[in-house]
Symmetry: C2
Subunit: 663 residues, 2 copies
């Protein structure tokens, strides 16, 4: 059960819980809302291969046609729909999936090709610009087909997709007549490895491996970089630069500036980087040749670089708008007026994917900590409480040009359906399991907390583990295990890295935390089939690394990062930019039950606030002491709410996570 998209079916969420409420919103609102948008925007019917007026639009981001990713928008929606259908049937969703599948089948070309743009708009352009226009959509179609097959149990979607993949296997590879290219936007690599997991067809694994290992080869095609050769064949001018390239041959944007095993730092478009490394981790995991040590090292190196030097307090990644990706080490401004902050929702989802894969390679809670941080902050902030509004960019501070406001849809609409499918299979992230039929043993590692049951078949019995909690609002989690006596079950409980205090009841004879996981042995579990983990959730101040030059403090409680909004602090005029906060002060907790938030949530109130005062027109040299703090107008209290619940109650869109620290 290496893939959460497969494993999630073992998990049933119970109500009420934070995650089950979010899932219910997606089921009840988001999927149908998005279906309607797919129809209204032309995406739904696009596989009919008729011309759509928007195909003539000038690209917003040259050279990428605005409709290039329509296939993937539909595919992600199908994938998400199938996950939710397996939970609760919905006739409208079911009918739409079936109709879409019929349309996709009908759109396939004789040779297997299956892509709207390169069939309707630019048939001659097929495979001529992998760098920018790539076969990213194919990856999402594969994932949709796998989800479809799992739910419907038929091959109506998988069959045309396999035919498409056959064409790709013929087209790309090391052979003399094959193209030595790889998609500029990774995704197909991880999809092909998931496909291989189903088909066991060695060609599927080999193509993924080829795309991964060929990537960034400076002499891959005719002794030159593949992207140079195809650009020349397209007749592209030497000085033509895609909008997202800062300089000519900015192949780092596509993580193709050098082979992955030589990459020292994580660079470029952040979603691409996450999807690519997720596939790399899968490749390493299934390796049985012993030859993937360099890839494993690259994974560790790039993960560490990202988490320690290129990740926001919210788990968001990507500071730079131009390339939707990573800046230099420690360049993590809070918003547009400081130089940028992108933290795309899809990138947060990508971090979760990669973190889950890293956990499979190495059960270390540091990966689960990041996975949880991203989920509750960088990712969930991307959807409104009602499930009908979304963000693409998730800045840590608003500005007049970039208010903290969600939108109903996007031209490039990757994030909304990505959110829907994530919540469809989120159960697959909660815990992981190892089953050894021979020794009749099971190991469950609990990564995330909620209210849910996992059922693990072994032999002719089933191990059930249940957790009940009001996480992330309350830190008490009650566990119950139902285990046939002949099965030896071990549980590994994650203790979050930020937890300075926690308690297991009943207690274990000795408490050994191994890489952040507490082991409960089969013997102990036989004596204690219920137990409670209590992780007191207290507000705490966090800061980014000093080298970010962000002298700010932010409030966190449990896995949640908090923010200020003008809704609660209506005096704000400047997006809290001049606000200063002394973290020495006391923080009080309240429970808010505003229905618009969708959650009865814990709010936090700070009291030691003031404002920065800088005398006007001091020029470049401010004498020491001229930047002072004024206590008037007095701020009686600052009210914080979780960042993921922002922009649900109206307001001006002024918001800030990290507050300037008062010294």
């Amino acid at each position: 059960m290496a893939y959460p998209q497969k494993a999630f079916v073992s998990t049933t969420f119970s109500s009420p819980s934070f995650i089950s409420r979010r899932r219910q919103v997606v089921y009840a609102n988001t999927l149908l809302y998005q279906l309607n948008v797919l129809k209204e925007t032309g995406r739904y019917d696009a596989f009919k291969l008729n011309w759509h007026p928007s195909y003539s639009d000038k690209p917003n981001v040259w050279p990428v046609p605005n409709h290039l990713f329509w296939d993937s928008d539909v595919a992600k929606w199908i994938e998400g729909a199938c996950y939710f259908l397996s939970w609760k049937y919905n006739a409208e969703i079911d009918a739409a999936v079936k109709e879409l599948v019929e349309m996709i089948r009908s759109a396939q070309q004789e040779d297997g090709y299956l892509n709207i743009h390169f069939t309707v708009v630019d048939p001659k352009g097929r495979f001529t610009n992998l760098r920018d226009l790539h076969e990213y959509n194919a990856g999402h179609l594969i994932e949709a087909a796998l989800a479809h097959q799992d739910y419907y149990g038929n091959d109506l979607l998988l069959q045309p997709i396999l035919k498409y993949v056959d064409l790709l296997c013929k087209t790309f590879g090391p052979g003399p007549d094959q193209k030595h290219g790889y998609p500029g936007h990774p995704e197909i690599e991880l999809a092909l490895l998931r496909l291989f997991d189903k088909t066991k067809d060695a060609r599927h694994r080999a193509l993924a491996e080829y795309f991964i290992e060929e990537r960034g080869n400076p002499r891959g095609q005719d002794g030159r970089h593949y992207y140079d050769v195809e650009a020349e064949l397209r007749g592209e001018g030497e000085h033509e630069r895609p909008a997202y390239w800062t300089e000519e041959r900015s192949f780092w944007y596509q993580q193709a500036h050098k082979p992955i095993i030589e990459q020292e730092t994580i660079e470029g478009h952040s979603v691409r980087a996450m999807y690519l490394l997720t596939a790399v981790a899968d490749l390493v995991r299934i390796d049985n040749t012993g030859n993937t040590g360099a890839l494993r090292n690259a994974l560790a190196r790039l993960w560490t670089n990202m988490v320690d030097k290129k990740m926001y307090l919210t788990g968001g990644i990507g500071a730079m708008k131009q390339w939707e990706g990573f800046g230099i080490d420690y360049f993590l401004p809070s918003g547009t007026d400081e130089g940028g902050c992108y933290a795309e929702t899809c990138a947060g989802i990508g971090v979760m994917m990669l973190a889950e894969r890293m956990l499979q390679l190495n059960l270390d809670a540091k990966f689960a900590d990041v996975m949880e941080l991203c989920f509750y902050n960088a990712v969930l902030t991307g959807m409104s409480a009602n499930g009908k509004q979304f963000t693409y960019v998730n800045q840590l501070a608003s500005t007049d040009t970039d208010l903290s406001k969600r939108a109903e849809w996007f031209t490039c609409a990757c994030c909304p359906p990505n959110m829907a499918r994530l919540l469809g299979y989120i159960g697959g992230y909660l815990w992981s399991q190892k089953v050894d039929e021979k020794s009749k043993s099971v190991e469950v590692a609990v990564h995330l907390f909620s209210s849910a049951i996992i059922k693990i078949p072994i032999g002719d019995t089933t191990v059930e583990l249940e957790q009940k909690s009001n996480w992330p609002w309350d830190g008490k989690i009650n566990f119950a295990i139902r285990n046939a006596p002949e099965v030896a079950t071990t549980i590994k409980l994650r203790i979050p890295g930020w937890a300075t205090d926690w308690k297991l009841s009943p207690s274990t004879p000795e408490t050994v935390l191994e890489k952040g996981y507490l082991t409960l042995s089969p013997d102990w579990l036989k004596r204690h089939n219920t137990f409670e983990l209590d992780i007191p959730l207290k507000p705490r101040f966090i800061t980014p690394h000093p080298y970010t030059n962000q002298d700010i403090v932010a409030l966190a409680r449990g896995p949640l990062i908090y923010c200020l909004e003008d809704f609660d602090n209506s005096w704000v005029q400047d997006h809290f930019k001049s606000l200063v906060l002394d973290p020495a002060g006391n923080i009080t907790e309240d429970v808010a039950s505003n229905p618009e938030l969708g959650e009865p949530c814990v709010t936090l109130t700070a009291h030691n606030a003031a404002f920065l005062r800088v005398e006007e027109s001091l020029g470049p040299l401010v004498p020491l002491g001229k930047a002072t703090v004024k206590e008037r107008p007095a701020v009686q209290q600052l009210k914080f709410i979780p960042y993921c619940l922002r922009d649900n109650r109206g307001g001006k869109g002024h918001m800030r996570v990290g507050i300037r620290r008062k010294h």
Copy 2:
């Protein structure tokens, strides 16, 4: 005497003084050193119009040929050489100027055109790409011709330049057969206005005015932006972007995104912006139509934006390497590892030019403060003590990729000869004068301090004002005025904005500072023909604006900004990045007399230093208190030297101006 390039001849520097020592170095070393480089690199002979092998080189910065500015390198050297010849004759320099002038004359085409690249390399390309390849060189040739005419008293250079300008006047303008363009790199505008000052030829002024007012017109040529039209005529691809453009149509790089009077913030290439605004200020000053109010407002607005929000502690401007120019408001990182710091030497020289022009429009010491700040820091740091090494970029902190090291020359060699010519006419910045023959009155405003005499002819007598000081090391300045009794002389003494304390002896009956200048009346001066201004120079801490997110302190003393170098603090391994300094501590002064510094200079020593300690691998969330300060290894003392004297004594090239503040 509106132009310092004309006015400087009234000033004689006396030794010893900081400025006279720098001038002597340029005279004795720099001019001949640069002459030799001009010869070795091919620039000297280039006006012979032979092919040079480097003309085939691929541009380092597409689409600008590497040799495009050779004409201006030579022109600036001639200009500087003429200024220095008027001080002290040197046969070798004299001979070289004469030979160069002969070569320039011989390079002129029949129709007056005079440009190496567009004569030898690309004759068909003339005037086809003003946006990138422009007539910037023409401006420097005009300035060289003016300096040449002033020193030699003949028209050997001015005559061909006037013929060239005739061609430009015919080519550009509002007429139906004229090109409605303007050079992408301003410079010719200010040169044409200086030329007009000499020739009184209305066409010269009109062309400058046209270039200034047409700039950024969105419908200037056939209803479209001139740069769009000429790009189309060149057959340039829509998506071809010069290396310095972040996006298509980045006309802000050239300050041509909108008309100057509509520009709200200072943007783009910083040298271009300074040269352009200098010309704007000149145009406003000589205006007699009353129609330049909008230009005057733009000047004030852009100056304020620059000085308050886009200027470094050193007076340097330009954070962004890609476009050698301004970033967003308050984006002023100290070095490459924080996101950039450019602060080009020529840009500092440009700020001085603009500040001097602003002073002429409005005698306010805030302009002189910036002029002096730039001179002593952003500009003088650009040349080594021996006058043979130069910087182009002047970061406030070094990194491993950008050490604090000067170079012997540059492919684009604008800065070295710019420095030479600036020191040639620096006397023109010291003070300004107004002479009223009718009322027999003279007003001298003293902007900078040194040891020098200015002689101001009025009627058949001469007013002489002498200042003697060891500025910037010592704050005592002794003045003596020699004034015929019939002349009413007023002196306005600048009191620097940073001076918290100062004293005039003998004192004046009442002390009124008007916009930073202290007025000494004719009556008072008749009673006191000698007086002393004492501005105690004490070390002081300065900081940038808090919105820069640079929580640093820097040391200044008088107009000098200080820095740390590894030469004096040899333990440094990380460019002082982890160093923290408590500004509450005591600062001690010493006098260093290291001959390699070229100056017996005041060094400063701080004692309250420590190091930042951040625990490893904390990921994105650093719990409050985990970034601490360690007192070991103890730093007994931190030794600072003036930033302008850095990199004169060897060492590793580790340097930093702003030190992280210890709280």
